[in-house]
Amino acid sequence: MSSFRVPGRGRIDHQSPVEFSFDGKKITGVKGDTIASALLANGIHLMGRSFKYHRPRGPVSAGSEEPNALMGTRRGPGRFEPNTRATVQEIWHGLEATSQNRYPSLEFDIGAVNDRAYMLFSAGFYYKTFMWPKSFWDKVYEPFIRAAAGLGVSPTETDPDHYASRYLHTDVLVIGAGPAGLASALASARAGLRVTLVDENTEAGGTLLSEPQAVIDGSQAWDWVEKAVAELKSLGARVMTRTTAIGYYHQNMVALCEKLTDHLPAPAANMPRERMWRVRAGQVILAQGALEKPLVFDGNDRPGVMLAGSAQTYLNRYGVRVGNSAVIVTSHDSAWYAAFDLADAGTKIQAIVDTRANPDSTLLEGAKSRSIRVLAGYTATRTEGRLRVKSVRVNPVSNGKVGAPETLTCDCLLMSGGWTPSLHLFSHTKGSLAWDDEKQTFLPDRKTEDCEIAGAGRGLWGIGAAINDGAEMGALVARHLGRDAVAATYDVASDRPGTGISHKELPTDLNPGKARAFVDYQNDVTAKDLRLAVREGMHSIEHVKRYTTNGMATDQGKMSNINGLNIAADALGKPQPKVGLTTFRPPYTPTTFGAFVGYHKGDHFDVTRKTPIDSWAEENGAVFEPVSMWRRAWYFPKDGEDMDAAVSRECRATRASLGMFDASTLGKIEVVGPDAVEFMNRMYTNPWTKLAPGRTRYGLLLGDDGFIRDDGVIGRLSDDRFHVTTTTGGAARVLNMMEDYLQTEWPDLDVWLTSTTEQWATIALNGPNARKLLEPLVEGLDISADAFPHMSIAECKVAGLPARLFRVSFTGELGFEVNVPAAHGRELWEILWEAGQQYDICPYGTETMHVLRAEKGYIIVGQDTDGTVTPYDAGISWAIGKSKPDFVGKRGLERPDLVAKGRKQLVGLLSRDGKTKLEEGAQIVLDPNQPIPMKMVGHVTSSYHSDAAGRPIAFGLVEGGHDKMGDTIYIPMPEGVIEAEVTGTVFYDPEGARLKL
């Protein structure tokens, strides 16, 4: 046991040693230690190097606000985390911790040369230095800055951990389980509400864990905490520790990150490392307490310089004295009690240096009874010591004059500049803050969410004040939620109420321009930097922040913001509220990417919709492509084939005999009701009244702007029932659009819409032998050319399965689409596959489908149209029912712009050399010799090699294209300019004879 560990003291298990390593050295702590408390117990303060100057640093705090003691931690292969806060990370046997930002070692670091060059690295250094020459930015400056930026090293291996997430609904969410939070939660839970209490620490209690002397209603503080937690649990409250409320969003949505395994040596395999909770709370109570501020003076960052309250926490929670010989420098009463506790535990207190001239008499008595020297009305002007503070120089201040210095030796310097209410989450809600002149800090003002702030978070000080405020707030929110609730009152003995004052940097008799008086430890921002920023014209706190990077480190200025504001306000000669505070943003503390990702990685990254026939395609070697949320078979390569060869073969086989295609992803909507035909007339451009049951028609859907939105073949099953198909990607959109019109424009129509996309598996059979394959399998229907002509639909049985059979073609060949209930999709596919062997049936994918349709001039909405294409532009104005009184988009089509000359129109494009395949997306010009930038008149929308045409074919949208038939247009490419002829869009069987077989 080291001499810094106080036997019997703290909430750690003194009897359970835990070994871990720090920079390869074996360190022994005890169960319940953090890395920081264990190192401190071994007399080690030096834990890292600072970001810019590589100055030696030790922990300045004992909590999640820690800016200095950041380390790499390793928990086995792939489990490396940079910037772990040593003050938070619990130790376990075998944990590996390494210091950061140093080379070759923590004790001797080459980068510390920056510290000697301190005067060069002033505020705005990067902006000034790397401005010129401009061409250096990409190649030299940015890589250099990126390499120098950030502490720690990003992990390079795949994270093997898994991460979880949950939703949680609760009546009352209490954030912070200190005295105010516990009392709030008790009041709400006693009123019968569902209560959730969260705390980022390993256990509930908050400040009570560091103040064991307090007595609440006759119980010692820790006993009271234990009883309170037990009562909460018995009332059904959810008490969550190691859980940080990271963000507060609209309508009382609060995100919590729960750490589950980082403190365990061997977590269970299925145990997630962290769990993100998305909480929707009826009422939120913010009981996050207050964070202690450092004092700003030269050398306030040396290892051994620490917040006084944190030293008190190390003593009372972890049983660790942070040094043998301490000087206290403070502007707040709280640090006196830290001194008293440490003195009582055996640390020699060299002096209590208070910036105030007249400390409270009870404090003076406490010091006197312990024979502690008190220097009141003093300032601290410098510290000494390379890897650990050795002494502090203090001077009396009277009437603004700094008097003669005195040097006090010490091995630790405990400071307190007062306390800042922790209002980060409140700030997330965009609630406004009001400056409190007396307390010299911001307090919560106007609220935007159903929340209350309790305890030190709203500027109250002392356990008694906080706990009773918590009880009041807990009862108040219970009443907001309609419960009768009266706040309990708590009697607190041995409380330590107190007050303090707030400072800018402390006065000094030395040259303040040379002082390394740190405001933001993590970003190495000094008081001098802030003043320089103001001198150089940064008059808004937002500018000062960005110019100096004050408050921009991962701790988001938890310690530095108010000190920074005090100094900036002083430099500007304005009161603090006129200068303002920067906005805190989520997350409250650094959060892993894994916690945000949750389950969405690997196979579960996102939804991949698969058809009932997908498994067959996979077993038969299909290459897939994503189409909206679906994955679809793209092509079916045979051994050694590339895509071009496979697609060419699939196209040939289909045109020569028979191809089969999984069209299950087609959107399908059942439109049913007496007004079904009227609804169809209004939605689609085409006329539907005269479409007889048993017949189908190509349907074109516009937006009310007149532009093409979707298309598909639509069958009329009976007078009152239509089977609508949509594009694969358009299915949900089209149904939503239809419902929107139906519910808001035409609620009088007796018609109803049902998505049947997934009810049916759809298999398209195309090719001259399609009927021969199908005919013997069909029951209850004559599918001969005369009885079942092109564009027919019927209900029948196919291979014994109930089916809806379309005669339709998207290839120009004789074609059928067989719809069977999705559960039977693969079964039918295999039957057709077997039966089709005699016709050399060829399964084909989406690429072949695209080529075959392009050869016939059929457009694909979304590829050949882009939301700005009208039916006229696309050459399909024949689909418009010109005598219909109205349809969606009818008036849009009459807009002047939509009937103007020179619109981009869809045309065929054939490269003049007959060999060059154009590139989809390539831009088109009329004169390739014009100066750059050229006038672009359109672009290529579809382009393929066509086996049937024996050459490449393409579509393009070209300004005035329909009037340019036979003209040559030009496509400038990196390799040279391609000439192409403007043509019609049908490249194969223009008479449509093959459809009519």
Binding site: V607, T608, R609, E758
Partner: protein, 182 residues
């Protein structure tokens, strides 16, 4: 993790822990749409009352219906009863216009039971499960996927999901069940 095929063979997917997940056998399913004036007549043709409160259910033998909207119900029946229902509804169509659309194959159902059933659902469902009364149900989302959630008991639920989304959803339920038993 079990590899899910699109056969969705009925049977246990997760068992033996604090929660079990079972794929249920195919049944008949219809989307039922009718105006208020025709609600009683259509209910009579189907053989049960069409409830008016969204989320409410009624049951008669194999036939069970849940109200999903002011004019929308989901009807579940025995697999062999769809033809009878279709015929009974067709018989009143002229007097009582409505939409009866067979969606038997559109979706599958997983049954989730056990003390951790609610915890498992909260992994992906943003609804307050506590507020769904036993015997009610709702249309909601799990992990962004639209589902119908039926609460059959304190710790017994059914989830209907469209086929193509089912592997994603069931995969999450498997992962979540393993996590809950850890």
């Amino acid at each position: 993790m079990t590899v899910l095929t699109h056969a969705f063979t009925p049977g246990p997917l997760v068992s033996g822990g604090a929660v079990s997940v079972n794929l249920m056998a195919p049944i008949g399913r219809f989307s039922v749409r009718v105006r208020e004036s025709g609600r009683d007549a259509l209910g009579a043709a189907i053989g049960l009352e069409l409830p008016t409160r969204i989320g409410a259910r009624t049951k008669n033998g194999n036939r069970e219906v849940i109200c999903l909207g002011p004019d929308e119900w989901l009807l579940q029946t025995g697999a062999g009863e769809t033809a009878d229902i279709t015929a009974a509804c067709a018989a009143i169509y002229a007097a009582t216009p409505h939409s009866l659309t067979d969606i038997s194959a559109r979706e599958i159902t997983a049954k989730i039971e056990g003390p951790a059933a609610i915890d498992l659902l909260t992994i992906g469902c943003p609804r307050d499960i506590d507020q769904i009364a036993v015997g009610d149900g709702c249309r909601t989302v799990i992990d962004g996927i639209s589902v119908i959630l039926w609460r059959d008991g304190e710790a017994s639920f059914r989830v209907d999901v469209w086929r193509s989304f089912a592997p994603h959803l069931l995969g999450l339920l498997q992962t979540g069940s393993a996590e809950l038993s850890a």
